[in-house]
């Protein structure tokens, strides 16, 4: 399948399959992940090929899924659990922040919890409530966890394998509205990962301002950059990929070059990832900046009914408007 263009969903599926092939201790758990292949079909076909012991359909209980995965990890397994939708991770929040995040440190390094918690994230699919949330900041705020998100098939393919191979617990956000879009990147299954799991990527080079984004917003920002180019503006776009730890050197290098930064995410801006990034940029690039660091995000509201979501989510126009404001300085 070398050099194939796949959807993000298929890329993730291939990545999980490769990880399971490589390491018999990798087990999948979650609601409907087995026979159905998950509600988004990310684990499609895996139970058929790896058996019920490695792809486990669990009872409908998120704390149960994550808490028992902790026990499996303590026994030497590498559980990869699926939370069906972002809004349903909260029953497991206690296990994640109280136990998963702290086990290694509180055992003074004796215990490892090599587990991955996959969460389909974000909106834009016209879903009912609790199906469109961007809750990455809760997890990025929790020391002991690592938080990453992919935005295309090739990253999905490699990053999920890297996350599974990590000895630290990883929260793995998958932008659900990008799952089934036609792939634009190729997956070289015979090759090796281009980047480490905790590295950001400059996906478009530019000189006038930097758009810092991740997950579902990468595509939106690339579209914004193309539209801006028609007006003679040359925007750089950075796909953060890793949210905790942040790849600060890549962020700083870009902002020091373009002297302007606009952070774009779906989550509400108040105490969001953008606030942290803006603070860091201000600390480290103060004398390089020509304009205040700006943020574009969801409004500070619970995710609205889907008829509102086009206005709620950052659109290409809102991104361009922020770029205008930045360049006006």
């Amino acid at each position: 399948m070398s050099g194939t263009r796949l959807s993000l969903a298929k890329g993730l599926n291939a990545g999980i399959r490769a990880a399971m092939d490589k390491d018999p201790k990798v087990v999948l758990m979650g609601e409907d992940v087995g026979t159905l292949g998950g509600v988004f079909r990310i684990t499609e076909g895996l139970q058929k090929d790896f058996g019920e012991h490695r792809v486990v359909d669990t009872p409908l209980a998120e704390s149960g899924i994550v808490g028992s995965a902790v026990g499996l990890a303590l026994r030497g397994y590498r559980p990869v659990v699926e939370i069906q939708f972002d809004g349903f991770v909260y029953p497991a929040f206690d296990q994640i922040v109280s136990q998963v995040a702290k086990m290694h440190a509180r055992s003074l390094g004796h215990l490892k919890l090599p587990m991955v918690i996959r969460i389909p994230c974000g909106g834009g699919i016209g879903a009912v409530e609790h199906h469109s949330e961007s809750n990455e900041a809760y997890f990025a705020h929790t020391a002991g966890l690592r938080v990453v998100t992919c935005s295309n098939a090739a990253d999905g393919y490699w990053m999920i394998q890297q996350a599974i191979a990590s000895d630290d617990p990883v929260i793995f956000f998958e932008p659900k509205r990008r799952y089934h879009e036609r792939g634009e990147t190729e997956i070289d299954e015979g090759g090796t990962a281009e980047l480490g799991l905790y590295e950001s990527r400059v996906v478009r080079e530019g000189t006038d301002a930097t758009l810092l984004c991740y997950g579902p917003m990468v595509k939106t920002c690339l579209q914004a950059a193309e539209a801006a180019a028609e007006e003679g503006r040359n925007l750089e776009v950075v796909d953060l990929r890793t949210l905790s730890p942040l790849d600060l050197p890549t962020i700083m290098e870009s902002v020091q070059k373009t002297r302007r930064a606009v952070i774009v995410h779906e989550a509400q801006t108040f105490v969001g990832l953008g606030a942290e990034i803006a603070a860091r940029v201000q600390e480290e690039c103060f004398y390089h900046l020509e304009a205040p660091v700006l943020r574009v995000g969801g409004y500070n509201l619970p995710y609205p009914p889907s008829r509102f979501e086009e206005e709620f989510l950052p659109t290409l126009d809102r991104v361009l408007d922020a770029v205008d404001r930045s360049l006006a300085h």
């Binding site: 087990v27 012991h53 669990t58 009872p59 209980a61 704390s63 149960g64 994550v66 808490g67 028992s68 995965a69 902790v70 026990g71 499996l72 990890a73 303590l74 026994r75 030497g76 397994y77 559980p79 029953p91 206690d94 296990q95 109280s98 136990q99 702290k102 086990m103 290694h104 440190a105 509180r106 055992s107 003074l108 390094g109 004796h110 215990l111 490892k112 020391a143 002991g144 690592r146 990590s166 000895d167 630290d168 905790y198 905790s244 730890p245 942040l246 600060l248």
Partner: protein, 411 residues
């Protein structure tokens, strides 16, 4: 309060909480038998309060063989455990009062429940404790000194759980029940169950209190264990109080009866009778190891002291209630049984007491000499792999303190 009033006290708490009406269907068995008393005929007991061996009856018969096979040596091991564990616990309490520990959750009164369960575990089994399981830790061979760090504030546990197959203490009530269940799922997936090899087949035991049975995680653990038929034994120490809250705040149907609803057996055992707790735990573990799935054991006991050193039980319970339970003391009971059966002589009992004195001294010394951790080590082990934020903050921390050292040096 007169003795009569006191005797009725435990039961009346229950009656006040639950008034069955005809529409509600049959009266729950707990109402008929009076779960909140030790006269419940469903409770497995082998020795009475004075240590007299009770006759075999319908309830204890399934476990009688285990007790009959116990030797004088077994009895002496259990007695020694009971005494030493009580002494270690008393030392923990004293150390807190003297400012050496920030907190101590005492197991006083629950020794028989913990020692019976702890001695029933085999080396390859795994225990997942709450925060009061010092007796189980002892039986697993965890040095009592290890338990102190957390309560002194120098670490969050810190011992290597895999050395004695005894997990770190868990403070968030209920979390560990799921860890135990997941670990048991791993044992099954590894094929370390139902092979018939006594050195290979393993099981897990998960500990919580009566209050813990209200938690979602407790109930989710029971669901997972049931549908996966995992080799796990849930051991509920019903010490009747969750800080200030009595049993009727937590449940109408007692935990051992609730197990049935999850699809596996529940057993009520006299938690102050070490022979009974051992036999019941051994039976359940044997079943789990041989692939017969989970069991829930409810050890009916009493917390003699305060919930922790921060608690004031005089605000919510009568001292007369405590007096009643003094009569049921597990050590007195075990000693009575052993004397009657000639399992040990006075010399043995004196030697155990002397050993307890020695251990108390050792624990105290270890506590007082426990060094404060190097401050920079708070940045250690946060992640298994390099983490730039932690690394940067560690550098900042060291540079900040080096600054003081320089200032001091120059002055």
């Amino acid at each position: 309060m007169s003795d009569n009033e006191v005797a009725g006290h435990a039961r009346s708490r229950m009656e006040g909480a639950f008034q069955p009406s005809p529409e509600m269907g049959p009266t729950p068995p707990s109402q008929i038998y009076g779960h909140f008393s030790d006269e419940n005929p469903e409770m497995v007991q082998f020795v009475d309060a004075d240590g007299n061996r009770l006759e075999t009856n319908e309830t204890n018969a399934p476990y009688a063989k285990i007790v009959e096979e116990m030797t004088s040596e077994d009895a002496r091991i259990i007695y020694r455990d009971l005494v030493l564990v009580r002494r270690i616990d008393a030392e923990g309490f004293a150390l807190q009062r003297q400012g050496e520990l920030g907190l101590w959750p005492s197991l006083f009164g629950q020794e028989a429940a913990q020692v019976g369960a702890g001695r029933a575990l085999r080396e390859q089994d795994y225990a997942f404790p709450g925060y009061r399981e010092h007796g189980v830790a002892w039986c697993r061979g965890v040095p009592p000194e290890n338990l102190l760090g957390m309560f002194r504030g120098v670490n969050h546990g810190g011992w290597d759980s895999n050395e004695n197959n005894f997990h770190l203490y868990t403070i968030v009530i209920g979390n560990q029940m799921l860890h135990a269940t997941g670990y048991a799922m791993g044992i099954a997936a590894d094929g370390d169950m139902a092979t018939g090899d006594p050195d290979r087949d393993a099981a897990v035991m998960a500990f919580t209190g009566d209050g813990g049975t209200s938690q979602g995680d407790f109930n989710e653990a029971l669901v997972f264990a049931a549908v996966k038929q995992s080799p796990v034994v849930f051991f509920v120490q019903n010490n009747q109080w969750a800080i200030s809250q009595p049993n009727e705040t937590q449940f109408i149907i007692p935990p051992y009866q609730r197990a049935r609803g999850f699809g596996f057996p529940g057993v009520l055992v006299d938690g102050n009778d070490p022979l009974a707790t051992y036999a019941v735990a051994k039976d359940a573990l044997d079943k789990a190891r041989s692939g017969q799935g989970p069991t829930l054991i409810e050890a009916y006991t009493y917390r003699m002291g305060a919930h922790t050193t921060s608690d004031d039980p005089s605000k919510y319970r009568s001292s007369a209630e405590v007096e009643i339970w003094k009569e049921k003391d597990p050590i007195k009971r075990m000693r009575g049984f052993m004397t009657e059966r000639n399992h040990a002589d006075e010399e043995f009992f004196a030697a155990v007491d002397a050993e307890a004195d020695e251990i108390a001294v050792r624990v105290r010394k270890a506590c007082q000499e426990m060094p404060d951790p190097e401050m920079a080590t708070m940045f250690d082990h946060q992640y298994t792999d390099h983490h730039p934020l932690v690394a940067a903050e560690r550098e900042e921390f060291l540079a900040y303190h080096a600054g003081f050292a320089e200032e001091g040096g120059q002055a």
